[in-house]
Subunit: 151 residues, 6 copies
């Protein structure tokens, strides 16, 4: 049985994240969408709020589980016998950053494999930071986030 | 009559910004140089200080107006019937970021068109953040900012 | 009266080119879409074929003219008193290349200004070379080229 | 049963390709490594030579098959009921190119999913074109190609 | 006698920094590894701690000196008659940023020359920020930092 | 005594190449500017023509020698006990390509060190291919090539 993790901040989840998760869930037996917790980073939304949006978005998908975790992603993977990390690639800046992280993860835990899916064209301009910027300026973000969610 | 907006932080305005604005002002009947206000971001100079530098820089150009605005750039454009956003491109990192913003703006306000001008070679190494860094270290920035301004 | 040129190979014209041209034609009084001729480069389609597709695509747009030209783009601009070049930006690799060309053109003809429009999200994966590749392999390209054209 | 294709020119296969293929073969039930044939492109080695190197490299891996194909990759996938394309990402230039191809493929065949694996650090400087360049200059390429192969 | 400076934050020093410094020290008679101090930036480790790690890492290399400095790097260079700045290049994002800084430095002090060395493949995924992230999550960083150092 | 090689096609030499060579010649006791010969590649100018332009450009610089060579650059370096390769970086696309070549060279000849200098802002838009394009279209290239040369 193949299990993968799709880790992220999801602050908040976007339609791009939703699309990556659904496509990844077809490739693996189980997909865990997991919100990493970093005490040093500032988030707009609380972990509980972000988790509840994930749960709502994927509630009809029995092979997708959503959860919070602490510590390094690779340590979480070791503990839960997860060998695959899934990440979406949106921009070249993403790619370069993800490349460093994937190589670091492999050096920390050689059994891990990172798979990349491309963000669909329709969503490639949508980032969580863009969504937050619009929210800050009282704009309407409903076209950028999964349908079940209302912000 | 064609009006464009050149939005930015201008913290502070650089010779690169000045050059982009002058070139854009030849293409449009009116150019509005507008300082967006973002309560969450930290600036080195106050909005009033930044605005006064813009006004001083372009005081001899009757078709350029300088102002402050709040909220989303596209909302400002809708209210003022502006259909063109002008942006300068300096680096590839700029480009990728501007691309996301332009596509977001188009989705929020389909009438908007974003035009890009390339920063002149002579100024392509000059960013506001570089200028701020030099100021912080007590260096001399007069070669990097418009002539009428003294920092 | 403001005239711009949108130069290219258009081998063949794509939906991305069509979109850039239509958006540029709203900004200028006249837009000239011009196919440069380079004896050293190999094309899939003849200049006449490519021109006829341009003409067909834009026949309902009175302020768009299509033509062939020889020599440097800036020499053509000088002769026809054109001060604006319009280019579409699709990828970062495009951007870097266009940047060099725009700076070269400015050094050769300082009156010239190059404006960039971003390729719409829906078309950002479509390049002439991709279309040619599909044609070579007997694939169907009708979704990637302007509607009036049949290849 | 999940089958993926790893398409390429493999002119010649490198240690980077070998590594990507082995890692992909653990994720899928079957992996088809397939050499596309493009009559317009010039190759250093014949399709038969390239195929024989692939076969030799992977002969101990029962779930890896090697073959030649003609036409579009997505047409091959449709005929053989393959829903996954695997590609290795080595550089940002690769990424941008692969992004266009993956989006084109999805538009041509919406059932297809493209997965990307990162080339291992140890091999990220090794490209087929680099290997060909060394061969042309009579250099020794044995450190850059799979062990069973002698060029 | 040729002296170069290798400036940085070294928060903390990585194996990549160590490798760049050792290679640069073979090219110059003297190499100064210098920690710039920026009151506005937040560091994980104190300047004294970072300096002590530099000293420990290079204690067996008589032509390498380690120190702290304040103000602009080019002002430090002027005062100490240093004409060469050495920097390591790890990623394209690095490159673009370094390019702006090098051009700014040249405009501020035309005698300065900036030399770039490429981070070795084995270390190209290791950045100080990645190391800090692992430390924050209680991971083990010993493979990413110079051997004499224990964090 | 430190000797470096600045290898390239120089088809033709540009003001950017000239600037890189002069700056590199100040860092090394001897600088060899060497034109690699690749039977598979098509050049606009003959090796003899390109060499004569190099010689003319640098005739007043006694520590610069110009020559032709065949085979791999690292083999030439081994034979002539050269431990440094100098390259100019103009664009990010350059950087990524140079990175692969430098790492390949290091694997083929671990004693080699590749140093990079940034092309000066004034010349960063000038490439040999741009110059050739202008020549093909009968444009004037005198502003882009070293003063002693007339094409």
């Amino acid at each position: 049985m193949k299990t993968a993790i799709f880790p992220g901040s999801f602050d908040p989840i976007t339609k791009g994240h939703e699309d990556i998760a659904l496509r990844a869930s077809r490739l693996f037996d189980n997909l865990i969408i997991a919100i990493g917790q970093n005490i040093d980073k500032k988030y707009m939304f609380s972990p509980e709020q972000r988790l509840s949006w994930l749960i709502k978005t994927f509630e009809k998908h029995p092979n997708i589980q959503c959860m919070l975790y602490e510590g390094l992603t690779v340590d979480f993977c070791k503990q839960h016998h997860i060998n695959y990390i899934v990440r979406g690639l949106r921009t070249l800046a993403d790619f370069e950053n993800e490349q460093s992280i994937a190589h670091l993860n492999k050096q920390l835990y050689p059994e891990i494999e990172t798979l990349f899916l491309l963000t669909d064209n329709r969503f490639s301009h949508i980032s969580s930071s863009g969504v937050r910027e619009i929210i800050l300026h009282k704009g309407n973000v409903k076209d950028f986030i999964p349908e079940p969610i209302i912000i």
